[in-house]
C-alpha cells in the first residue's frame, strides 16, 4: 500500500491537481475491491456481464487511477500528464477516455443512482454480476442518494453494495447523524466497519444479503497515512512543497 500512497501523492503534487486526502481516504477500500472482489482485468473489461464499480465521489479519481494502473489498465508513467490538456486523466474521471472507468462522475449524487440502474439492469438480464459504489459522506447530503436508496430497496437489489466513505469532513457543514441507521431505515442491510482495515472491508464486501441492498459505512480518515493531512480541511485541495513531499513519503514507511 505504501507505494500506492506514494504514487497518489507524487502524481497529484507533480500535476498540481487531484484531491490527495480524498484518495487516501478510500484507498484501502479501492484496493480490496480491485484486488479481491471485482475480478475485473484489462482483458475481461469488455464482458457485458462483468462486475461493475462506480466511484460516485469522482473527486477521488487520482486514487482510482493509481489502482487501475497497478492492475495493468494503463502505464503509471501516463499519469505524469494528469490534468494536462492532452491527458486522458483529469480531476474527475471520463469513461470515454480511461480504460477501466465505468462512469464519468464528478457532480455529486450522480454515480450512486447510476449504480442503482446498473444493478437493476443486471437483475433484468438475470446476470450474476454485482455492482459496487463508493459514495462520500458529504455526497450523502444530496437528495439523489436517498431517492436512489429507496429505489434500490424497493426493487430488492441485493446485488448492490454501497460503501459510504465516512471521513466526517463534511460534518461541520451538515452532520448526517447515524448513517448506518439511516440506510437501515431506508430498507438496506447496513454494517459499520473500519475503512482502513482491509480484512473488515473484505468481510463486509462479501457478506450475504438477505434480499436487500447492502450499505457499508466505512469509518475512514481523510488523508490517511500522512499526519499533516489527516482530517485537515486545509489540505483538501492543496499540494506539498518539495520538502514537505519528501517528509510525507518517508512518513508512509
Amino acid at each position: 500500500m505504501k507505494h500506492l500512497k506514494e504514487n497518489i501523492i507524487r502524481t497529484a503534487t507533480e500535476a498540481n491537481e487531484g484531491h490527495i486526502p480524498a484518495a487516501l481516504s478510500i484507498l484501502d477500500i479501492l484496493w480490496v475491491l480491485y484486488d479481491r472482489i471485482l475480478g475485473i482485468t484489462p482483458e475481461n473489461f469488455s464482458n457485458p456481464d462483468r462486475n461493475r464499480f462506480i466511484l460516485s465521489k469522482g473527486h477521488a479519481a487520482i486514487g482510482l487511477y493509481i489502482v487501475l494502473a497497478e492492475k495493468g489498465f494503463f502505464k503509471l508513467e501516463e499519469l505524469k500528464n494528469f490534468g494536462k490538456f492532452d491527458s486522458r486523466f483529469g480531476g474527475h474521471p471520463d469513461r470515454t477516455m480511461v480504460p477501466g472507468v465505468e462512469a464519468s462522475t464528478g457532480s455529486l449524487g450522480h454515480g450512486f443512482p447510476m449504480a442503482v440502474g446498473l444493478a437493476l439492469g443486471a437483475k433484468i438480464k438475470r446476470a450474476p454480476s454485482k455492482v459496487y459504489a463508493i459514495v462520500g459522506d458529504g455526497e450523502c447530503n444530496e437528495g439523489t442518494i436517498w431517492e436512489s436508496a429507496m429505489l434500490a430497496a424497493h426493487n430488492k437489489l441485493d446485488n448492490l453494495y454501497c460503501v459510504v466513505d465516512q471521513n466526517h469532513s463534511g460534518d461541520p457543514a451538515l452532520n448526517p447523524g447515524d448513517m448506518r441507521q439511516k440506510f437501515e431505515s431506508f430498507g438496506w442491510q447496513a454494517v459499520r466497519i473500519n475503512g482502513h482495515d482491509q480484512e473488515e472491508i473484505y468481510k463486509a464486501l462479501t457478506q450475504k444479503s438477505v434480499g436487500k441492498p447492502i450499505a457499508i459505512i466505512a469509518e475512514t480518515i481523510k488523508g490517511k497515512g500522512v499526519k499533516i493531512m489527516e482530517n485537515s480541511a486545509e489540505w483538501t485541495h492543496k499540494y506539498p512543497t518539495k520538502e514537505q513531499l519528501e517528509v510525507m513519503i518517508k512518513e508512509l514507511e
Binding site: R52, D94, P113, M114, G117, L120, G121, T144, N155
Partner: protein
Amino acid sequence: MRKQIFQTIYDVLKADNKAVLLFGDVGTYGFRNSQAEFPDRVYDVGIMEQSMVSASAGLAMQGFTPIVHTIATFLVERSLEQIKDDFGYQRLGGNFVSTGASYDMASWGATHQCPGDVGILKNVPSIEIVVPGSAAEFDSLFKQSYNDGRPTYFRLSGKSNADNQEVAFGKASVIKTGKRATVIAVGPMLERVRQACGELDVTILYYTTLEPFDHKALRDNIQGGKIIICEPYYSGAIAVDVSIATASHPVEVTYIGVPREFPHHYGTMDDLDAFFHLTAEDIEAKIKKVLAK
C-alpha cells in the same frame, strides 16, 4: 398525442427486449398494459426525476435502451444536469419523452409549465430534440430514432395538427411553396401556420426534428429574404441554426413564439395562446405585417 405515448412505447417494448421504461408516477394508468406484460422492463419509480434519469443511464450501461417519461418541466429542468452529464457527456443512448409542453397544463400554473425545454436542451451537446406535430408523427419519429445510440428528447404537446405529415427524423419538409417569405412551423404550430398563411405567397417549411437541425432544407428554401419562425416554446431556440443556415443569404428573421414571461394566469392552452398572441389570427396579422414591409 398523450394517448399515443402508451401505444408507441408498448409497441417498442414488445418488439425490442432491450427497451426499458422508467416513469415518474405519471401515466400509471396508461402504462398498465405495458407494466402487466413486461414487468421486468417497466418501472414506475415514484417521484424522483433526477435519480430516474441517472438510473436509466445505468441501464444504458448494461446495454438497454431506456425510455424515461414524466412531465416536461421535471424531466428537463429538474433533471437537466443528469441528462447533460449522465447521457450527453457519457455518450449513452436513451429517450426522454415528456408530457405537458409549454403551458399545456395552463390551469396548474407555471410550476407545471415548460416553454424553456427546447432552448435549454439546445445547449446540451449531443442531445437530439424531436417535436412531433401529431400522434402519428410521434409514433413514426420515435420508432425511427429511439435506439440510435444517442440521447433523444421527444416533446409531446397537448395540441396536434389536423393532418399527419410524412416525417423523417432529422429532415424538414416543404408544406407549400411561395416567393415572398419562408415561414418555419415547428411541430404543433403547423396547424395555425397553415391557417395563417392561407393563400399568402409564402413557403412553409415544417420541422419536427430540431437537433440535428436540417440546415440544408432551410438554405434551399429561403424566399423573399424573409424568414418567419413560428415556435410553440420560448421563441429563438433555433436562432443559431437559422443563422448558420442563412449565413450566406441576407435575411430578415422574425420570431413568433412564447415570450419569456410568467403568465400568472390559469385557464386553458387556448386562453394562454390568446394571452401571448399566438392564435392563428395573431400569427396571420404578424406574417402580413412582415410581408408588408
